[in-house]
Structure formats: structure tokens, C-alpha cells
Subunit: 217 residues, 2 copies
């Protein structure tokens, strides 16, 4: 349809990857513009003046920022497999858990990683992960979205792929299989789902990144 | 239709008020359950185990948490005046600015208030408010939603009403009329819009709250 779709980001970002996965699920072709975060492009500053952050999606010259806002936009702008359910209540639950991952769970995991797995930070991360474990137990599906990946799965990409790379880099364990069997199973299901798999960065790059960033001394 | 709608909250909260405004815009009748935040009810802990926070909306025994998620739910669950636009791109913009208010602007204002109007914190708040001033300038309407209140307006309730009460309580000025003429005008438009006006708490209570919380020494 002559759609021009541009994505501004960096390869290793879990937030950029959310957008890549959503575009891939909808089979939308796009051009990827790699940003140098120490010297942001004039385009990025123009398209996202309020945050000056990646990812930014530009659809026919209309810019959209904030990864979860972008994923909802992609779901509404393109047909194909739905990323959010139609029912208003189910949709609210999906938005709630995506926001939970964004505001509570991922920050707790960053703290656990940043503290090299300190007991207190890991306990706090476990408290948050337990809510997701319970959700999967209640739902009983392959993904948070049941048989298909939904916004909650996409919002949790960091847990499925980045967390394991950080654990390997630092020699710590946060997502313990015996404590979180459902979530561990979900990680495998999610990263092996084809549209997700194709969108993930190389694991070695992430391991190297976490070693450099948090592995010091 | 036999709808049972319950809202758990406290009277002075700007986040609870967002939900009251949305329900009022849709002319939905509801029962308001006042929470004692120092001794939260069993209902609140049951309905929002992940955050244990207000507001919680319970619609026919289905609980929903997070004020902006609740407002979107209300918009989708009840007909009447729309709170979000239909167009996917416009909707993404509305979600972006609501999230901006939530994550950037209101926290910056809390810092400005908490620091009793320190130069640095006020400058940071001004930087955020300037984005909203620009938005109103570009849009040119009475509200962020044009002729009607939308999610961005509702998300900014704190700026329209709570901020002024805090300024009065502490004898500071953050939202200066000469710097932010459009935003100042918007505050008046918004708090005088009937469904909003009916939902706001008494201003004296807020002034007393801010004096007690931040006025000391």
C-alpha cells in the first residue's frame, strides 16, 4: 500500500526489540535506522523531542514513541494476528500486566543485575516474578496470550532473553527453574516462537554487554 | 443493565479522581468505597494484589487497576462521549502524552513541590510543562482533546487542580501564567467543565494536605 515504515533504535535494546517483534508478527516490512546513542541523530531529536529516546517508529512520516504505545499502534494500524484481545476487560488486564512488567518487574530485575545478585534485590525481583508465574498458572497456555503471543509476552521480552544473558555474564541466577517452572517454560516457548526468534539480537552480544556494563572489578 | 460498579479510593487522590471524571463523563453510576491507606481493606488487597494501591474499579466483580488503564477500560466498556479518538495514530499520540504526564511531568512537579520550589526542580518542571504548552499551542483547542476532554486532559488533572493547591499551601509558583499562558487557560477550562468540576475534591482539603505534608519548617 506504499507504506513507509522506519524504526529508529539500537540492536541490543529490549525495548526496540518489542517493536521489531510486533512488526514481525504483523509481517510489516520496515527500514531499521541504527542510532548512535552518544551522538543522537537529528531525526531522532525531531521525532521524539520530549524523551530523545529510542525506539521511535515512523509510519508515513508520523512518529510514535514509547515501546508499548508503539506496539498498540502496530496492532491497530495493521491487520493480521491480533496482539491485544478485543474484549474490553481482557484488554485492560493485558495493559495492566504490560505496565506491571514495565514499571515494576523489569526495574526490579535491573536492580538484581546491577547489584550482582544481592540477596535483597533478588528477593524483590522474585516477589515480582511470582505474580507472572501465578498469571501463567491461572491462564495455563503456552504464552501469556494463550496460544498466541500478546502484549504481555512482548512486554516481558527482557525476562525471556536478556535476563538469561545477564545471568550468564555475571554468574548469578535470578529466574530459578524450581521456583518459577511456568515462567522458565514460557521463556523457551517465547524465544523459540518464529516471529520472536527472528527479531532477537545475538545472545553473545548481550552477554558481552552485561559483562562490560556490570561485570567490573 | 444491572451493572455493578464499585470504585475503591480516597477523596483527595488525583489518580482516583481521573477515574471519577471518566465515569462521570460516561454518566456511569458507581459506589465509592473510601479506603484507609494505613489499614487497607481485604477487598483492596484481593482486587489489586500486585500493587495494593488505589484506585481500583470493580465492574460486575471484575477488578481493574492503574488509573490510565481504568480510564481506557471505561472508554471501551461504556458508550457515550469518547475519551480516546478512533484513529490509530491520534490514539497513539494521546497515549503517549498521557504516559508523558504520568512518568515525566507529574513526577517533576512532585519534586518541585517537595523541594519547596527549589530553582533546579522548578526549572526541570518547567521543561516538562513546556511540552504541554507547545501541544496546546499546536492543537489550538479548549482542551488537549480539542472541544472535548480526552485521556490527556484526564491524565493532567493534577496539573489543573492539585498543583494550584500545593502552590497556595507552600507560597510558591510553578505554573507561571506569563510562561505558560495556554496551560493556565487550559486549567480554567478543564476544572470548570461540568463533569470534571463535579468530580473534584474540595480545594481547602488539598491545601491543608499539602501544608501538612510539605509545609513543615
Amino acid at each position: 500500500m506504499g507504506d513507509e515504515v522506519k524504526l529508529y533504535g539500537v540492536d541490543g535494546s529490549p525495548f526496540v526489540c518489542r517493536v521489531k517483534i510486533a512488526l514481525n508478527l504483523k509481517q510489516v516490512k520496515y527500514d531499521f535506522y541504527v542510532e548512535d546513542l552518544s551522538n543522537k541523530s537529528a531525526d531522532l531529536l525531531k521525532y521524539n523531542p520530549a524523551h530523545k529516546k529510542i525506539p521511535v517508529l515512523v509510519h508515513n512520516e508520523n512518529p510514535i514513541s514509547e515501546s508499548l504505545v508503539i506496539v498498540e499502534y502496530i496492532d491497530e494500524a495493521w491487520k493480521g494476528v491480533p496482539i491485544l484481545p478485543h474484549d474490553a476487560y481482557e484488554k485492560a488486564q493485558v495493559r495492566f500486566w504490560a505496565k506491571f512488567n514495565e514499571d515494576k518487574c523489569i526495574p526490579a530485575l535491573f536492580k538484581a543485575i546491577g547489584s550482582h545478585g544481592s540477596e535483597e534485590a533478588v528477593a524483590e525481583a522474585h516477589e515480582q516474578l511470582q505474580f507472572l508465574e501465578n498469571e501463567l498458572n491461572v491462564k495455563g497456555g503456552k504464552f501469556f496470550g494463550g496460544d498466541n503471543v500478546n502484549l504481555v509476552d512482548i512486554s516481558a521480552s527482557f525476562i525471556a532473553f536478556w535476563l538469561g544473558a545477564a545471568e550468564e555474564a555475571l554468574g548469578i541466577k535470578v529466574l530459578a527453574k524450581d521456583k518459577f517452572p511456568k515462567l522458565t517454560e514460557w521463556c523457551g516457548n517465547y524465544i523459540n516462537c518464529q516471529p520472536v526468534k527472528e527479531s532477537l539480537p545475538a545472545r553473545e552480544i548481550l552477554v558481552a554487554f552485561f559483562k562490560k556494563r556490570f561485570g567490573g572489578n
